[in-house]
Point group: C2
Chain length 259, copies 2
C-alpha cells in the first residue's frame, strides 16, 4: 500500500488561546446585524472534553410560532413583573411584554444587554445570582429561566445561590418558568461525558462550557442540565416547589412556585 | 457600582484536546446526511491564533448557478482527463463530468472520498503531493485546485512539491485551474495575523488551520492564501505559467499552463 502523507505543517504549532471576552454577546450582535437572518451567524459552544458544536444563532431571535410547545406553555404563564434571567436577544421577554407583562431582562453579557435593548427590552447587565444587588425584595411576580437557562443553576452546590436570590427578589406566590434538556435523554457521545462526571462525583449533566466567536472566548462556566427530579430536589430547600412540567422530546419546561 | 460576578466554574478547568481525526470528512458526511440541506451542518475551522470560524457546510454541495463567476469560469475550461485535488464533496468534479470530462477526485479525507463517491465521483484517497504514487506520467489534461485549494500549496517552500508532482502526472499542454483569496484584501482581523507572519519570515497569507467537528480535530495544517503575484513566482520554476485570471471581490481564479 502507498503511504499517504496527510496535510501537515512544517513546524510544531504553538496555538494561541483565544482572547477572553464576550463571545456570546458578539455572536448575538453579529446575528442582529445580519438582519437577523437565518443561517447567517453560528453560535459556537465548546465543552471541556474537546467537543465543539456550532448552531444557527438565529434561534435567539425566533418568534413564538417557531418555539417548541413546552416553551410556549411556559411563556404563556408569565404574570405581572417579569425578571428574564439570561435574557439573550430578548425573544421570551418580547413575547411576555406583548402579552402585557412588565419585563426586565438580565444578562452577564454586555452584548446580550445591548441586543435586547435595541429590540425594545428593558435590560440590565448582571448575573442572576446577584439580582438582589439590583432589585429590592418582592420586585417580581415571575422569573424566566428559559432558553435552557435552568442550566444556569450551575451545580447542585451552587443552585441554592441563584434560587435563594430569586426568592428574595420575588413576591409571595411568584413562579419560576424555566426549561432545560433532560440528561437522561443524552446521546452516546454524552454518555462518556456523563460517566466522567459520575467518576468526579458530579451529576451527569453538569457541563463545563465556553462560547467562542472569532478570536474571543468566554471564561469556562458550569451549565447544569438537571433532570426534573434533580431540579425538584435542589429547589425545595430554597422555597420553590415544582408544580407543573411539560415535555417535548429531550426538552422540558417547568413551573416552580414560591412557597 | 455593583460588582457583578460572571458565569464561572468552581474548579480550575483542565480542558481536554479534541481527538485527532477526519473532522472535515465527518462534517461532509453529516452535511450529506442532512439532505444535503442548507444551514443544517456547520464547518468549523480554527486558526492557530485562537480564531474560530463556523460556516454553512452546505456550500460544498452547491451547484454552479450558486458559484461566484470566477469559479464557473475556471470549471468551464476543464478539458479531457481531470484530476480534482481536494475533491471535497465533489461539486466541481460533478460539473466537469457533466460537461464531458473524465474526472478523478483525490482527497486526504476518508470522509470526503466517501461523500464524493456516493455522489457519483470516481475518487481515491491521497494527498496531491503524492499523486505520482497513484497515477502515471501524463495521466491528466486538467488539474483542479478549486474551492480555495490553491492554498494547498501550503507555503513558498513546499509549493514546489505539489506543483512538481502535478507536472509529472499531467500531459503536455495541461492546465491547472484553481482559486484562492487574495490576502491583500484581508480584514483588520487578518492584518494582525499577517503582521505576525511577516515577523516570522512567512508570507502574510500562510494560515495554520485545523478543522473541528464535534469531538474531532484534524492535525494542524498549512494553508497558504497566496496572491496571484506570489503564485506566479512559485509556479514558474516548476514549469507552470500563469496564463489568465479572473477576480470577484476577494476571490480570484487562475489558469496555469504546463510549459
Amino acid at each position: 500500500m502507498t503511504e499517504i502523507r496527510e496535510l501537515r505543517t512544517d513546524e510544531p504549532v504553538h496555538a494561541t488561546a483565544p482572547r477572553t471576552g464576550d463571545a456570546f454577546g458578539e455572536t448575538l450582535l453579529a446575528a442582529l446585524a445580519s438582519g437577523p437572518a437565518p443561517a447567517a451567524v453560528s453560535e459556537v459552544i465548546e465543552r471541556d472534553d474537546g467537543l465543539i458544536v456550532a448552531s444557527d444563532a438565529h434561534r435567539y431571535f425566533r418568534t413564538p410560532e417557531a418555539w417548541q410547545e413546552p416553551i410556549r406553555w411556559a411563556v404563556a404563564q408569565a404574570r405581572g413583573r417579569v425578571l428574564d434571567v439570561g435574557v439573550g436577544a430578548g425573544r421570551h421577554a418580547l413575547a411576555a411584554a406583548a402579552a402585557g407583562c412588565e419585563v426586565t431582562g438580565l444578562d452577564v453579557s454586555e452584548g446580550a444587554v445591548e441586543v435586547s435593548r435595541r429590540r425594545g427590552v428593558r435590560a440590565v447587565r448582571g448575573a442572576g445570582e446577584h439580582a438582589d444587588r439590583l432589585f429590592g425584595p418582592g420586585s417580581f411576580d415571575t422569573v424566566f429561566l428559559l432558553g435552557q437557562n435552568l442550566a444556569l443553576l450551575a451545580s447542585p452546590e451552587r443552585a441554592g445561590d441563584l434560587l435563594g436570590v430569586l426568592r428574595a427578589v420575588t413576591a409571595p406566590g411568584a413562579s419560576i418558568l424555566g426549561d432545560s434538556q433532560d440528561p437522561a435523554s443524552g446521546s452516546a457521545r454524552n454518555e462518556a461525558y456523563f460517566a466522567r462526571n459520575r467518576d468526579r462525583g458530579r451529576p451527569p449533566g453538569q457541563f463545563v462550557l465556553r462560547a467562542r466567536y472569532l478570536d474571543l472566548a468566554t471564561p469556562w462556566f458550569d451549565y447544569w442540565y438537571c433532570s426534573p427530579h434533580e431540579l425538584e430536589a435542589v429547589a425545595a430547600p430554597h422555597g420553590w416547589r415544582l408544580e407543573d412540567a411539560r415535555r417535548a422530546g429531550t426538552t422540558y419546561s417547568v413551573r416552580l412556585r414560591r412557597v
